[in-house]
Symmetry: C2
Subunit: 747 residues, 2 copies
């Protein structure tokens, strides 16, 4: 970063010391005098009618202070009232003097259920005759592209351009594949936890580890039926979120119990509860085909994406199948399907890794069929300035090709071009895969204040919860703008009472949007300091500049006023304390691209996949802090590897989760992955601070696809169901040539 | 208040419910997990050298976590290092698992003192040969106006105008009196208390009941030798302050112990500690004479004011002897005198009640000598627009005469003009007194933000600690400006981390200065709302207005946008959330006047004084909330009655406090005072919000003087030493005619 002293530096996270030494305060660490403990009663049935809830025995138990049910909550929300539609759904909660007493009292709540049939697989749910997932929700009349009637469809959407059939007619090669992707939990290490304290005057204070303090406030207020201003949310340290803590779980329960008991109440979910009652990334079932000419020019795409929408029948971003490559004709049908599962929610680049797995697998198969280098195929079709974006707008200057080219030297190291299907007899087979992803950071609502303390040190005040070191970035930006050492800047998180509305830390928006407001606030601080210094020095503001913690004369740098002097003078001046503000809630943002390469070694006898190399390139616009960005990339690639090889909810077919714990829901560990190689590409974004783009989400998008492509490269057969378990790999190998023949024969 | 719906209304304090039901959280109510308790070791000697402090026995005591002394504190501050100069001065502090263990450990700290002579009376301290109060402080060479050398003078100051001697030559009547006023404690009901919690990353959080969160932060940072930004202060409910909590006592001790132990530490002073180690209002000893012509025109004033400056040798506002009445010639000599007592500090209208007692007593005696009505004498000489203010500036339009005239009807009800000295034989004698006072509110530094919650409710964010209901006023102002019901406005106090610097709640500044910033912030909020509504409605901003929680068309009021809609739209708009700010730290303010009448009944046999009527008139500029203002006036008059009749520190002559408890330091109770009659005068202040002036301090100023004048009226003899105890009254009666003759014979 030319001309910058702090922006661009590898500054470690300010809070990492506290986090790794156990001194950081998470919501479960908040202990208040007189605090009692809340536990939630959950439905054991994936689907049932609730006939009766009798809390009388529980309430009369010694040590029990209160029980709350849907009857205590105005309107809908929090607890099931008449029907439960997934295993683990909340039915009631107890507050008691100890965790144990609360746990025991749960067993004394009598709930009379009438069990109903349930369905948990999206492919099964759409069949005529499948159980109805929710008795209370209307269904969409729908058929698939073949005209088959569909069941349990909550919503349907279609994205089209050009003439799809003509595009396939013009194609010289067509690949068609079917994909299965399971629901994926964010697996934040910190479980859901909250503390609520009733306050005098009919108020409540909530300690929350949600991704945003304001997103935690609204559901608490709603559960209580109170206006927002009667709820204060204090953000605690967040122990991982990845999109999953854009919802709150413990907070409304704790608040309801606190108001009912008049005592502070803590609710901490177990890992099992986290797995049973949260909002994981959605699974999906996809039928897709892609056509191209011999020279690699893409001609047409058709896809049906059946999103596993859980009890919400939620849809996903199926349009992400396109947008990275020029594609004149496409029809993408997107379905939100009800299943007897918790509703899905955002997980780091929501829906993008799923759609990248589909898109980049198709592309890879196409390269194989065409005998073309997969990187070359991508470069040939990659969108650039002026092409149509995923959202349908013309693209500004982007860095997709630059990012593809940034890995070309790595790609050239591979053992050779992806080989055609060959003998499967060699037990250890190596393969290389490449894949790409796009993400355009969200902007959202941000507001930041910057003020000077009386000793001239700098205070940055935000409503932005720090998940990933963004406070460190804000300090870098403020120190850069004001010309002071990093140690003189403190970044503080306000409460919902003391800062204006601020959106969640998510959507890769924080450095981009809140960072911009930090910069603006500093610019206003500089203007105020220069005005005041001009008064003090008797000079024109134009003759002054802010350098190294002083406002000084441009011509005579030895003459100036220190920040300390200015801070002191300001608080006795007509204008008052030095205070700059920056705010925004809408601003153009630019697509950022991630390209990754995986090298794998597959044991053809066991089906085990070993990761040998993972190379992640990303266009970050401007690397505000390469250390933190590399951390984001490495963490995301590890998660992506988990999605590829191990992760995913498993169900018994009747709505029961088979793996609601960290033994059976296997995530990637440090032992599973090689050191992750990172390549930062900087194609400036003129709208971002110093040219920056959002960086947190892009690197998870292509990982699973790159690994799957590497496996296909190694084996000559493709597994299209995630995760790529040894069983699936072995099955693919066994069916080897038959499978290959079937796939390649399809036209 | 014409045209206003909320400003001017008698709105009860928002926090009174919590306060009177015991649910408000004071610093002593803050309980944290793992919290330990701090107690302070204090000097039993009013003056001594510290030879040695040995903490080893205390530290090794079970349950004791740490002991801190001056050796733990960088630079000066907190603990005495080599010399103690008043009884109760801090020498060390202990943190222990219980209060009892901490208390017991104090006895195990071995301090070797070398006692030194001490002096506690200002009249004694100034004598040549008096003990030297502080060995470490330089003295001022000084003589009094008679040329006598003075001892223990820390500072000297003189205010003069015209030619004093000529003025007395021109006088036809001169009164000369000697006054004694004791040091006066603010007697806040809540003792000093604080909790400090060490935080990860080398920070500390402090819960403080100080009058300002920022004034608590600086001394904590200083004690620790840390920059300000490493200290966070959270303001708690304040249980009375009256200027006395502009200093902090428990906070630095708690913080030092917290950092040393790594545990949260609570320090709560006992009432005895509060009386021994705080900053009471200063006593003084005054020699003064005032001359006038037969028609009542004042000609000259000469005074020597010896302020009891304690270990600080602090001076007081002796210039307050003048400024209310036109006075062409004066010489006021002001001395700050060292005594072996704690340093004095601000107490509600600092120094003004003392100087009013002197000034208004002199004036009353003059009226008696002149045979003139005391109200008439005041009206004749009262300053008005264009005259010189106390600060030496020309006065703007003021309301002094209006305030004097406002009590004329009450004054006319008295039994007759103040009678000349007469027979003292009637046991029950009634008398009336009148007195006046002036106060120009301080401005200080204020900054306020106003924002909309997503549901359209209004949040006012300040750094202003609420002592007297000012948050209720801010809510009234915001509700008035934005046209919403009071219930839709919440006022929140930020922490030192999350709001810009804000000065203390004191100097009658808050409604005036911070109230102005609330109004400005609302104006900015309105501008932003109108801009956004204009966008939404496709109309010109000029055609819109903010009425009743909506922005609507002036011409077609049925068309508009609700605050809720605007709040929601704003957080998806380019400008970002609706957020207005107002800040200032300097602004003209205008003198406010208080005039009070007391009717007393003195029992000439016992010397007991009964208060029959207390009438308080005050120019408040604009009565933003008459209920709260009347509360301020009533409370101040009760305090003033205490000063007149009961209150004051008593010492043994060698520096030991004789009455450090609420049995021996007697304050006024509800039984002691009649219902206090209030008269609000409104002479608009164009600089204040809606014309308001500061109201909290003026009403304490004239009370003691009015009561003393009433007693003199009843008895025909004057007691010039406060408080007017039965002993002093009886002594005055006994010496009756002799005293009178002496006083009146002096020329």
């Amino acid at each position: 970063m030319d001309g910058h002293t702090l922006v661009g530096r590898r500054v470690p996270r300010a809070d990492s010391g506290a986090a790794v030494t156990g001194r950081a305060i998470y919501a479960a660490d908040v202990k208040l005098p007189g605090m009692v403990y809340g536990k939630v009663l959950r439905s054991p049935y994936p689907h049932a009618k609730i006939r009766r809830v009798d809390t009388s025995r529980a309430v009369s138990q010694p040590g029990v202070l209160a029980v709350v049910t849907a009857a205590d909550v105005p309107g809908e929300g929090v607890f099931a009232r008449e029907e439960v539609a997934f295993e683990g759904q909340k039915v009631a909660a107890v507050a008691a003097e100890t965790w144990e007493a609360a746990e025991e009292a749960l067993a004394l709540i009598e709930v009379e259920y009438e069990p109903l049939p349930a369905v948990d697989e999206v492919e099964a749910a759409i069949q005529p005759g499948a159980p109805r997932v929710r008795l209370d929700a209307p269904l969409e009349e729908a058929t698939d592209l073949r005209g088959n009637p569909l069941n349990n469809i909550a919503r349907m959407n279609e994205f089209t351009a050009g003439e799809v059939e003509r595009g396939f007619v013009a194609a010289e090669v067509v690949v068609e594949l079917v994909f299965h992707i399971p629901a994926l939990h964010q697996v934040y290490l910190e479980p859901h936890a909250a503390v609520a304290r009733p306050e005098p005057g009919g108020r409540v204070t909530v300690w929350s580890g949600a991704q945003g303090i304001f997103l935690a406030r609204a559901p608490v207020a709603q559960a209580l039926g109170w206006p927002l201003q009667r709820v204060t949310v204090i953000g605690t340290q967040v122990g991982g979120a990845f999109g999953g803590k854009n919802f709150v779980y413990a907070e409304p329960v704790a608040a309801l119990l606190a108001v009912k008991t008049g005592r502070p109440v803590q609710v901490v979910d177990t890992r099992r509860e986290v797995f049973l009652d949260s909002h994981p990334g959605p699974g999906c079932f996809v039928r897709a085909k892609l056509g191209a000419r011999h020279d690699g020019t893409l001609t047409s795409l058709q896809a049906e994406v059946f999103w596993d929408g859980g009890v919400a029948g939620a849809d996903g971003p199926s349009n992400r199948l396109r947008g990275l490559y020029r594609l004149p004709n496409y029809r993408i049908r997107s379905y939100g399907v009800y299943t007897n599962k918790m509703a899905p929610g955002p997980y780091r680049a929501p829906g993008a890794p799923q759609m990248a797995f589909v898109r980049e697998s198709l592309l890879d198969e196409l390269a194989r069929q065409l005998g073309m280098d997969p990187l070359e195929l991508r470069l040939k079709n990659a969108v650039e300035e002026g092409d149509v974006s995923i959202d349908g707008h013309p693209l500004p200057r982007i860095g997709f090709k630059e990012t593809l080219q940034a890995v070309a030297a790595h790609w050239a190291q591979r053992k050779g071009l992806a080989s055609p299907p060959s003998s499967l007899s060699t037990p250890k087979r190596r393969g290389w895969g490449i894949a790409a992803g796009e993400w355009t950071n969200w902007v959202g609502s941000s507001a930041t204040s910057v003020t000077l303390n009386e000793d001239g040190t700098v205070e940055v005040i935000t409503g932005s919860v720090d998940l990933t070191g963004t406070n460190t970035l804000f300090a870098q930006i403020a120190a850069e703008e004001l010309g002071v050492p990093l140690e003189q800047v403190r970044v503080a998180l306000g409460t919902t009472d003391t800062v204006p509305y601020h959106d969640t830390t998510g959507g890769s928006r924080t450095a981009y949007a809140t960072g911009t407001t930090v910069r603006w606030a500093c610019e206003e601080v500089k203007r105020q300091m220069i005005r005041l210094a001009a008064d003090i020095l008797g000079e024109e503001p134009e003759s002054l500049e802010v350098v190294e913690g002083r406002v000084r004369m441009k011509e005579r740098p030895e003459e100036g006023v220190s920040f300390r002097e200015l801070a002191q003078a300001a608080i006795r001046s007509a204008e008052g304390p030095i205070l700059g503000g920056g705010k925004l809630a809408s601003r153009p943002s630019r697509p950022a691209y991630a390209v990754q390469i995986a090298e794998v070694e597959v044991d053809a006898e066991t089906g085990q996949i070993g990761l040998r190399r993972l190379i992640a390139a990303q266009d970050v616009g401007c690397a505000l802090n390469p250390l933190l960005i590399e951390g984001q990339m490495q963490g995301a690639v590890v998660q992506g590897a988990g999605l590829a090889l191990w992760e995913g909810y498993r169900y018994d077919g009747a709505g029961h989760v088979l793996n609601p714990d960290l033994v059976d829901y296997r995530i990637a560990t440090a032992e599973d992955v090689p050191p992750i190689e990172t390549v930062l590409v900087e194609v400036e974004n003129p709208e971002g601070p110093y040219g920056a783009k959002g960086v947190g989400e892009p690197p998870i998008i292509p990982t699973a696809a790159a690994i799957a492509n590497a496996v296909a490269d190694a084996l000559g057969v493709r597994v299209t169901e995630l995760p790529l378990t040894p069983e699936r790999v072995l099955a693919a190998i066994t069916q080897g040539e038959l499978t290959t023949a079937q796939q390649y024969g399809i036209r």
